[in-house]
Amino acid sequence: MHYKTIAELSLALQQREISSAELTRHMLQRIGRFDDRLNAFISVTEERALAQADEADRKIAAGDAGPLTGIPIAHKDIFCTQGVRTSCGSRMLENFISPYDASVVERLQQAGAVMLGKTNMDEFAMGSSNETSYYGPVRNPWDTETVPGGSSGGSAAAVAARLCAAATGTDTGGSIRQPAALSGVTGLKPTYGRCSRWGMVAFASSLDQAGPMTRSAEDAAIMLSAMAGFDERDSTSADRPVDDYVGALGNDIRGLRIGVVKEFMGDGLDAGVATSVQTALSEYERLGATLVEISLPNAGLSVPAYYVVAPAECSSNLARFDGVRYGHRCEDPKDLEDLYKRSRSEGFGAEVQRRIMIGTYALSAGYYDAYYLKAQKVRQLIADDFRRAFEQCDLIAGPTAPDTAFRLGAKADDPVAMYLSDIYTIAVNLAGLPGVSIPAPMSAGMPVGLQLIGNYFDEARLLNAAHRLQLATDWHRQNPGGF
């Protein structure tokens, strides 16, 4: 049962082959049995899940079910969930019970999805290996000595090990796509503003975007259909209609022009990953698409620009954690400054403190022009590169990450080496474009991600292209042993 996709489970539920309560209990049992080895979940919400499953079964019996009714999913622990701890992977929010649901959580609940629990993540979504979590690292189900990627590492590992049918993630610099690649699942980062940020703990507000992590592009289309849409509570929510993502899956892709980024296929890319990506691109040619070489000359500056913009926004967003209104508070503060400083230093881990300090420095008096302003100009150059590229092609393709999953601890002491894990994903966030990572052929037994990048609000075409590849191949149907 757990090998099925959402589309297949939905059919089984409608045809009464299984009830949502049975399916939900099955998934909860799997979490109980396997999560000790993965640490993919921070909280398991069994009671809420079973109540939602019963409600879903009533809807199915009444003939009032949609494609997500009764489907057990998990939420990254960055999404506020009413009455349930929302830790964001941090000690700071160890005891934070959210007073409301995030918009994305609310929408998926309205669509009938069942919430199994909250998944582990890098602290405040800052990391590329899920090792910065206060709740311990997540392990990759394909090789538990390696990382699942991050920051949505718990969601990626849970979907890969079939502990849930799908999960939500967030992506500020690659945090959906990179773990999807390293863990062998499908992960979509929509256009900036497509899914509401309301109730999603803020990291870098001009980059953060929620998206689905699933077993297939078809499932991503089903999830996105429920998650996307205008929300007046998010000041940067896109006020435009949501496309028919599922309907577009059937479109033909013959004649589709796929741009291959020449800067992404050269130095720094692992040879095995390069071969897998080439195989996937050849399959697209076989399916009738045309490959066009394109150039993103400024993409190499995306990591440097990101490590100004994201820390600057993080230092501002995380100023709210002051030990006064909510979150961790130190013992016996001697004055207000001591209260702020000790609460924050005890509540935040090393990586979060590093980024707050880089951002504080970049925004401090006298440095604004050299850092933030310069980075926003470089960001414009990167967006212009993409605009020119989309004059030559419909979609852009390349690797999602430069390597397959690395060993736990391999990059833990070298922040800059860790940051370069996102070298192919960050430019997409800086430009605000949608991108998806889908499994390419494995390399030495470990998953590889093919990244497809679309033009603004072109998620339907992106998912259509991903789906056509998945209809023709079984790369997304591989399962890690032992789960």
Partner: protein, 95 residues
């Protein structure tokens, strides 16, 4: 770029982070390595480039000047570390 322990202490204070002096030197090296990465931006000439304000060409939405929020004060304060009579408690700030 090389940040001294004094620089680190100053930034930590601005960010309201506690910085034990024995950690400042190592942190200074880590932050300096990140700033070296950032300095790669200097290789590109950006004179005349308009800095990006938003990835999409949109303007800020306006709404009617009407009260729409509900009063959730009690619910939101329930999670505070020290609350009394609807007030957040902090150490004495005025002598």
């Amino acid at each position: 770029m090389s940040l001294s322990s004094d620089d680190v202490a100053k930034i930590a204070h601005l960010a309201r982070l506690d910085m034990p002096s024995d950690k400042a030197e190592a942190l200074g090296r880590e932050l300096s390595s990140i700033l070296d990465l950032v300095a790669q931006m200097d290789a590109v000439d950006t004179s005349g480039v308009t800095p990006m304000a938003h990835p999409l060409e949109v303007v800020q939405r306006l709404r009617d000047d009407a009260v729409t929020e509900q009063d959730n004060r009690d619910r939101y304060q329930a999670g505070g570390p020290a609350v009394e009579n609807g007030l957040y408690l902090v150490p004495k700030v005025i002598e």
